[in-house]
Amino acid sequence: MSPSSTVAPVVCLGCGCGCDDLSISVSGGRIVDLAPPCPLARAWFGDGTVPAAILRASQPATLDAALADAADVLAAARGRVLVVLAPDISTQAQQAALTLADVLLAAVDTATSEPAAAGLLAAQRRGRAAATLGEIRNRADVLLFWGVDPTPRYPRYVSRYAIEPVGTHVPAGRAGRTVISVAIGADRGPAEADVTITLAPDDEVAALSVMRAAAMGNTLGELPAALAPVAEAATRLVNARYAVVVHDAEPGNEPRRDPYRAEGLIALAQALNGPTRAALSSLRAGGNRSGAEAVLTWQTGYPMAVTYRYGAPRYTPASRGIGWAVAGGAAAILVVGAAASLGSTLTDVAGRTPVVVVGPRATEAPFPARVAIDTGVAGIHEGGTAYRMDDVPLPLRPPLPGQRSAAETVSALLTAVRARGTRP
């Protein structure tokens, strides 16, 4: 039994907060404790054990044989391959996966949720006013939580970034901040708010519009009673030194979401920069999802939904890759990353289309895979870089190194595919 040790500071990819101050206690090749005791971090790190198997047609196989088979499958399907950048891999693994996608003339999809995708598209139309998380910590004196209480899904957002901390320009910490909570249907705001507003889902975009009109200094007629409190909140935002609007870019509890919500939030935060300074903080899930979007952007110009099928990247946000595969368009699928996140999406497709999975717990994928190669998890077993929800890149300091590397495995797969000839 190996002696116990502590690794710190470690980045947690359990959510998009990307807290990088964790101390991980390791003993006997397992994680035995961590601090601070964030529930999401506990779930993310677990005891750090992951399978390290390789399966080919559900049978154990050698790495070489699995790579050879995977390469055969992928090379044969060149031009009709879907590459999924699934979560929990490093930026370096994502870079390697995109190289492979380019060589395979593949379509690429990411774990970007539909609400998050709507936000990306809206930001392409309008730009956006944002800030890194530390700027919220250091400057925000009025915070508007738009249908989100961060605590369940982003447990340390409130203590590390938004409400509680002392900042360079908020020396009084919590006492120096006004917190406005807006509940929208089933999406509640934080309990510790100073002001609470409740909106029906049908009113949320109208409410954003009313606030934006106020930020622009436009006078409106008499408002319906449901929107009057929002106008008051707008006054607080306008009078802030540094206003921050926080929302969850991932699916929430409220099923009825206005498709224009993301754009409304972006537009409001931009407009608030007329009378004051303001930023929109978009809460994003973890697992280096933001990294996938960053790498895709620098390699292709587009943050998601790209296809290399036509010889150069083309943007296809209207028909995302997984949808294309589900509809039968793909002849082979390569999942790089944690397949568990794909849930049942690929179950039907995997029955008729060969799927290769390289990533954490690949051999436990919730669908039949032609080839599954387990790797370590980024940030637990594998180093490299991962991105926080605010696009700040963080170095991964794996507390349990030694698992098969996703980045290296994908590179090996690339070599095998190239050996099969990739020129038409």
Binding site: G127, T132, R160, T168, A279, A312
Partner: protein, 550 residues
């Protein structure tokens, strides 16, 4: 076929201004990635008879590998869709060639390929927020063909402002040294000193060198002095790289002159001075103050500049000077991204089109040309478009043509809106035409010298074997946009105008020494205010050894 270890570029007309060679027919010998004195007679030969041979181009100031650039890429899917860039047909044995997209901010691989296709073999990203340096290095990993690095943003950073406020200039210097190393950067970049912090506080901007910043007793002047002194004391190869206050504001030439005077006697590089050479303001229309600025530069050998020429067409303004971008957004109505970067700096992005029929665009274009044409020392007034702010780096050949051919310039001048050109020396007819030797200075030898890159920008023995070979063409723009051969670190990467190899570039960064006692204070600062742990902050795996400090 792998790249030959040895290569004789035979019989070309060589322009190597750093070594006093101005259009002489001679051989350039390469061995082991370096220029050598001579080679055995049986060494492989590249026949360059009748061709023009120059060192590889060196871009002293561009924006192509940063978190900000990536935000800008996201903002322009339409540009990418209009400019797909299929993978080049590289030679067998090369790594997989990569497809990408162009537009004003091309994807990384495409950026590297296009730089190489232009005969540029070294380039620096001139504005990287320290917090995102790791991102820049990742992008540079995916930007082949060019050696390069990053300039790290300082001058609006909380820690520095606190040191200046406390009179701790030595600690500020040590901090600068630490930050350069922590970010794997090559030089210190100042953008709108204090103005970005002012923007973030709600003060919105500073208007001159002596404005207090965000209620502190720190001024832009103090920031300039502190960092210029730090860079010089640390003996950095490149002095502090300054984007002055009041960029793009009518009448800003006065601020620019005041900044130059504030640092008189100190080595300093003032970047994209075109954007800082405007007269007018205070109710007066915009006008050119190029001659005022260039007179100062001509007379002060410690000052160096790049021009930041505006070229007509689409551009993407990307800058840490976030308050400027807000104003640009309001005046143009175009989309706008702003990212406040904690404790350090800002980032603003607005797509823009410079139209020759727009009076201000035409003035900016003319001012840039005036600066070039009135410069008496090409070694200190080098070429840039502040890519992609004033135009794409792909516009360099067109710019070179404007400098070399007065008739082209005059023709173009006739097509632009003349409304604000009264008082512009260009409108009065500047006859100067740059020679090939001078072009070699402003595009390679000069930038390399200003950057302190002793192995770049020349063809003397020991230099990096980065060579660009052009077929002579009466169409100057065409000649410079399609080099016949490009040699990078001794390997022929462009053959007959086609990119055939795409080696990874070398990372150029510095690691000046400093008093480590600053670390304890810094750690305290990080623990209190930063959301990134002090131990996670430095980029630990910057490839390549730091450039030696003389």
């Amino acid at each position: 076929m792998s790249a030959p270890d040895r290569l004789r570029i035979a019989g070309g007309t060589v322009y190597d201004p750093a070594n006093g060679v101005d259009g002489e027919i001679r051989d350039v010998c390469i061995e082991g990635g370096r220029i050598v004195e001579r080679l055995p007679a049986d060494a492989p030969t590249l026949d360059a008879k009748g061709m023009v041979v120059m060192p590889g181009g060196v871009d002293i100031h561009a924006h192509f590998a940063s978190s900000s650039c990536n935000h800008a890429r996201r903002l322009a899917p339409d540009e990418h869709a209009a400019d797909p860039a299929p993978a080049p047909a590289l030679s067998e044995g090369e790594g997989p060639p990569r497809s990408g997209t162009g537009g004003t901010v091309p994807s990384t691989f495409t950026t590297g390929y296009r730089y190489a296709g232009l005969g540029y073999t070294t380039a620096f990203d001139a504005a990287v927020a320290p917090l995102t340096a790791r991102h820049s290095h990742s992008e540079l990993d995916d930007t082949p063909c060019v050696d390069g690095g990053i300039f790290v943003l300082m001058g609006n950073d909380e820690y520095l402002l606190r040191q200046i406020e406390a009179g701790e200039r030595d600690r500020a210097r040590d901090y600068a040294a630490w930050l350069l190393q922590a970010t794997g950067a090559y030089a210190i970049k100042i953008v709108n000193p204090g103005g970005v912090e002012a923007w973030k506080t709600g003060q919105r901007n500073v208007s001159g060198l002596d404005d207090p910043i965000g209620g502190r007793s720190v001024t832009p002047r103090a920031i300039l002095e502190t960092l210029a002194d730090a860079a010089n004391a640390l003996r950095l190869p490149h002095p502090v790289h300054i984007h002055c206050n009041n960029l793009g504001v009518a009448g800003n030439y006065a601020t620019t002159l005041a900044s130059m005077e504030a640092l008189a006697g100190r080595r300093a590089h003032f970047t994209h001075i075109q954007f800082h050479s405007y007269g007018g303001g205070g109710g007066q229309p915009w006008s050119s103050a190029a001659s005022r600025i260039i007179e100062y530069v001509n007379a002060h050998p410690e000052v160096s500049t790049d021009v930041g020429q505006v070229m007509f067409g689409p551009a993407m303004t990307i800058t840490a000077d976030a308050p400027v971008e807000y104003l640009l957004h309001k005046s143009s109505g175009r989309r706008w991204t702003n990212i406040d970067v904690e404790l350090e700096t800002g980032c603003g992005i607005v797509p823009l089109t410079y139209k020759d029929k727009a009076a201000v665009s035409a003035l900016q274009w003319a001012i840039g040309l005036e600066l070039f044409l009135l410069s008496t020392d090409p070694w200190r007034v080098v070429l840039s478009t502040d890519h992609p702010n004033g135009g794409s780096f792909l516009a360099y050949p067109a710019l070179i043509e404007l400098l070399m051919d007065r008739s082209v310039r005059d023709e173009r001048l006739k097509q632009v809106n003349p409304k604000l050109l009264a008082g512009s020396a260009l409108a009065d007819g500047l006859a100067r035409e740059y020679t090939l030797g001078e072009i070699a200075i402003i595009t390679r030898a000069g930038p390399a010298r200003l950057l302190g890159l002793t192995h770049k920008g020349h063809l003397g023995p020991g230099a990096d074997a980065d060579v660009t070979i052009y077929s002579r063409d009466p169409d100057i723009a065409k000649m410079f946009s399609t080099p016949r051969y490009v040699v990078k670190s001794g390997a022929v990467i462009v053959e007959e105008g086609q990119l055939r190899r795409a080696p990874a570039g070398r990372r150029l960064h510095v690691a000046p020494g400093y008093d480590q006692t600053v670390l304890r204070d810094l750690r305290r600062h990080f623990d209190r205010y930063s959301t990134v742990a002090f131990d996670n902050y430095p980029v630990r795996d910057v490839p390549g050894e730091p450039v030696a400090i003389a």
